[in-house]
Amino acid sequence: MGLLRATALVLFSLALFGVADDPLPRVRAKSDAPPANTNEPQSSSTIAYEMPAVTLAVEPIVAAVAVDARDAASAVAQMRDALASNDAPRFEAAYKRAAELGANVSAYEDIEKVWSYANTDPNGAFYGSEMHDRLAARHPGYAQYIERYRLVDGRGNVWYPTSETRQFLAGKVSVVPSVARATVREETSRPAPRHETRRRKHRAVHKAEAALPAPVVNDALANDIRNAAAPPVAAVNAPQPPPVQADMAASGGRATILFVVLSVIAVGLVTLFVRTPGVDEAEPLRPAS
């Protein structure tokens, strides 16, 4: 009986120890981290924080995608379609499937490498001179194309974007991505009046405060996402307040002030000219008596 109790005690202690011994991430001391500008890219292996930080691996959220291709041509077609529609998981799966089926995927090799790098490296949106030199040696015209997109950071390092690189490489295999780039777009829809926006934000804050636990995830973020994506229905159906006629704080405020001032001056001048009698209409001067 005593042995049984002792065994149970040991097992209980071990279980307690196992529960309490969660694998904790490595914590870096402040003195270990070199000072760095957080807006500059860091290499994957060294993360420079100004404060003690918990360093965790970031895994991409990519669900396994199955490609239903029975022959190489079908797999290549799906790969091209995924490339055109900016679908990384499907492209990756179709690329592997096409290679398995014996298709010649050498033309897509660099695309796959660039995209894979973009999806696995913490700074994957940009790459350095090493990959640039390799691509420049393999693809004529690439160096000239990417030159206009290069970025120089505060330390003088040069970075090139993977997004534009992928676009160039896709053009080499005659695939035009469906996403058209536009640097400056005109606003097509009328922005909400300022007071309306303020009201909606205020309501969202209060709703987040008073929100009940969400059915899917009991997290304030989920509530905030709901509030952000779906503004209250009452706000849509409610009669809209009249729009603000003049917004002096907006970019057009200065022009509006100028317009009002000029209009007042113009109206004043017109009134002056209309009411002032001409020389021929004026009364003749009378000699002072």
Binding site: A182, S189, A229, F259, I265, A266, V270
Partner: protein, 151 residues
């Protein structure tokens, strides 16, 4: 003659106003993944740096403007805790995270603000199940929002 001069002045003021309005630049910030993918990488980077700075400033202002025990402060603290990674990731990393997030077309309708917060939660080590549930919720609501007519 004087009336004509007055009318000319009036017309001139109208013309000046119209010309000034037509040449005023106007850029719309990205609302969701579709908008995000239309930007160049340089635009994405500068937008991310500005967003991060504005986010931090906004949190600070909420804290300053409201009393220490007000609901606003509690909300700000909670939000800051959830997105405390923002001060520690670089603008390059934010762009990379969003590029990765929007490389799945199913996420295209998710608002950029929600995508950033999901990315930051992911980067701070939030469990994958919760992240996936948030993504699924954001996808549904983003799709609903895109179907709703723009006001």
């Amino acid at each position: 003659m004087r009336k004509l001069v007055g009318l000319a002045l009036l017309l001139f003021s109208f013309a000046a106003y119209a010309a000034d309005k037509a040449t005023a630049p106007e850029i719309t910030p990205p609302a969701n993944g579709e908008d995000w993918l239309k930007l160049s990488s340089t635009e994405k980077l500068f937008w991310s740096i500005g967003y991060a700075q504005g986010y931090a400033d906004a949190l600070g202002k909420i804290d300053v403007a409201a009393g220490p025990s007000s609901p606003c402060t509690a909300l700000a603290t909670r939000t800051e805790r959830q997105t405390s990674t923002f001060g520690k990731v670089s603008g390059f990393e934010v762009v990379s995270g969003l590029e990765k997030f929007y490389s799945d077309p199913a996420n295209a309708q998710i608002p950029v603000g929600s995508a950033i917060r999901i990315y930051l939660l992911q980067a701070s080590g939030k469990d994958q199940t919760t992240i996936q549930e948030l993504i699924e919720t954001a996808r549904l609501l983003g799709a609903e929002a895109s179907r709703r007519p723009q006001k």
